[in-house]
Assembly symmetry: C2
């Protein structure tokens, strides 16, 4: 079974850890291709940092800090402290020493002319994540956020002025706590899907949308021209897992992202946002947490097969069971009349 997963950072990586565990025990011979979000990528101190790709790679390769969910276990921040002593910006980005080695290898390889896909494959040769990790695009497509910053001032008529700041600055420096008016992915119009990305969707047996951020992770991947169309057209069932449980994100600040694009923070609203493939949308089935069972009928009415299951990824076993529910939903869709 060929499974293709569109993944952001922590939520996607943890889901993948459970999916891998499931396949190891029950579906040997299966393969996982991960299409990773690179909209969060940032150049910091001259280094190309790919937070979501690295979170997937480190999590599945056994190097992640489980406590933080991002970056390396046993990490130190000597370089960051020294950079701060030089007074160079940005000081708010958490660049760990071990992590920097990854960024140095990546940056130098990109400078030598390798694509991000090539470099990611090379890094994964070391990490052995057990999945094929494909950047959504080798082209630069960076998520920026339209905000009102305290020091931006106002227009003569009193209207607050707006800035577009890098997603990481919004997320890390401002903790998403600025008046926010949407997202713009710089470069997305001309970004091309990475090699094999479209093929991985078209030839998959199952396509999964894990509980990653539906706006700035999966939403960004889907904005790469051609990717959403491939998801709509694939013969495989497309199954999503709600990142919203009980009206709040399980982790992260998906609520702030959803609010910025005018979508309610609820398991139902995210399903509606993705839409039913049968009506030109993106998903066939939607898994919500048992505590959100009351939205199942509403989601079903959208033309999406909705199931309420234990969706909290509390440990690898629980996550493997969630992944099994995804595959079961896919099987049901495939067997539909």
């Amino acid at each position: 079974m060929r499974i293709t997963v569109l993944a952001g950072g922590i939520g996607g990586a943890r889901f993948l850890r459970g999916l891998k565990a499931l396949l190891a025990s029950e579906h040997s011979g299966s393969s996982i291709t991960v299409i990773g979000n690179t909209g969060d990528d940032i150049w910091v101190h001259g280094l190309r940092v790919c937070p979501d790709l690295d979170t997937v790679m480190y999590t599945l390769g056994g190097g992640i800090s489980d406590e933080r969910g991002w970056g390396r276990e046993g990490e130190t921040f000597t370089v960051k402290d020294e950079l701060a002593s030089y007074g160079v910006e940005p000081g708010w980005f958490g660049l760990g020493d071990k992590d920097i080695a990854t960024h140095l290898v990546r940056t130098q390889s990109l400078a030598a002319g390798y694509t991000l896909t090539d470099v990611t494959t090379a890094l994964c040769d070391h990490w052995q994540p057990g999945v094929r990790l494909l950047p959504m695009s080798d082209d630069r497509a960076e998520t920026h956020v339209i905000v009102e910053r305290p020091d931006d001032g106002s227009a003569p008529d009193g209207t607050p002025l707006r800035s577009a700041i890098h997603f990481q600055e919004w997320w890390i420096r401002y903790r998403a706590a600025l008046p926010t008016h949407g997202f713009t992915v710089i470069g997305i119009d001309t970004a091309r899907p990475g090699p094999d990305v479209i093929k991985a969707i078209s030839t998959a047996d199952v396509v999964l949308l894990p509980p990653s951020n539906p706006v700035v992770s999966i939403g960004t991947i889907l904005q790469v021209p051609g990717i959403a169309a491939a998801v709509r057209a694939t013969h495989a069932p497309v199954v999503g897992v709600s990142p919203i449980v009980g009206g709040a994100p399980v982790r992260g600040m998906a609520d702030a992202c959803l609010a910025a694009i005018g979508v309610e923070t609820s398991a139902f609203a995210v399903a509606e946002h993705y839409g039913a493939r049968s009506s030109g949308g993106l998903i066939d089935a939607w898994l919500v947490d048992s505590s959100d069972a009351d939205c199942v009928e509403d989601v079903n009415r959208l033309g999406i097969d909705c199931r309420a299951v234990p969706a909290m990824m509390t440990d690898v076993d629980a996550t493997a069971r969630l992944a099994a529910e995804c595959l079961a939903a896919a099987e049901t869709w495939r067997a539909r009349p």
Copy 2:
């Protein structure tokens, strides 16, 4: 008094520490300009590393590892270890975590279009070395070494084949222990002296050659077109200190460098190599260690005012006294009939 010093790494930096101490106590209002060797510079993992500039900056700025003589006090090597786990070369270069911050700032600034002189000034704004530190050139001029490596093989007639390897590889990886046939400074023909370098020599009251490596440190600086001519032409006395004591380098592997260019490892031979300014050479006075007093007459016969003094830089006070001897020799030259 304006003092201009042509300096390499450890020897030059330690001499400068003594000179600074001397000026602080006895010649207030004096200024020191250091023309630093950049022939040892290397790009490592995409970072521009300037070992000699940094050794001067860290030593005079209070950040040096006194034990090693290079790099930062309390340094860690997390990034280096991680890079090694990726298997990327070179693994032999001692890239410390604190040090990397300097290289990141430098590399990014160079990429933004600043010159090495600009960047060095900016880094020194932080380190406050108390001297004006000028790279010998903003152009790339890198010392390579002509060697026979064990795996280079031989020509059909049995002649060993030769390679040109970067100075740092020769020095650090091979500890200068390869059959060596000389040095070539790639880019030197078209390298221009950095801004103010020629002026610093021409308008100095004293020019000093500290006990730096006469071949790959001071020798490289002097190869930048225009610098040797400026030293020959300056109105200031030019005073050198022998880096060779008792037929051996006080530190480092100057003997291997001298042997490679056919110069004996002795205080006399280095003086002869520099030559008397009165005969078209580079120095007016030459200080040797007291233990080398027996060469004083021979050096004098070259037309160089030679003095035997305690030349071991055992601590800052001893080094300040050595610097005072340099200024005394300069004064004598200036007061000559």
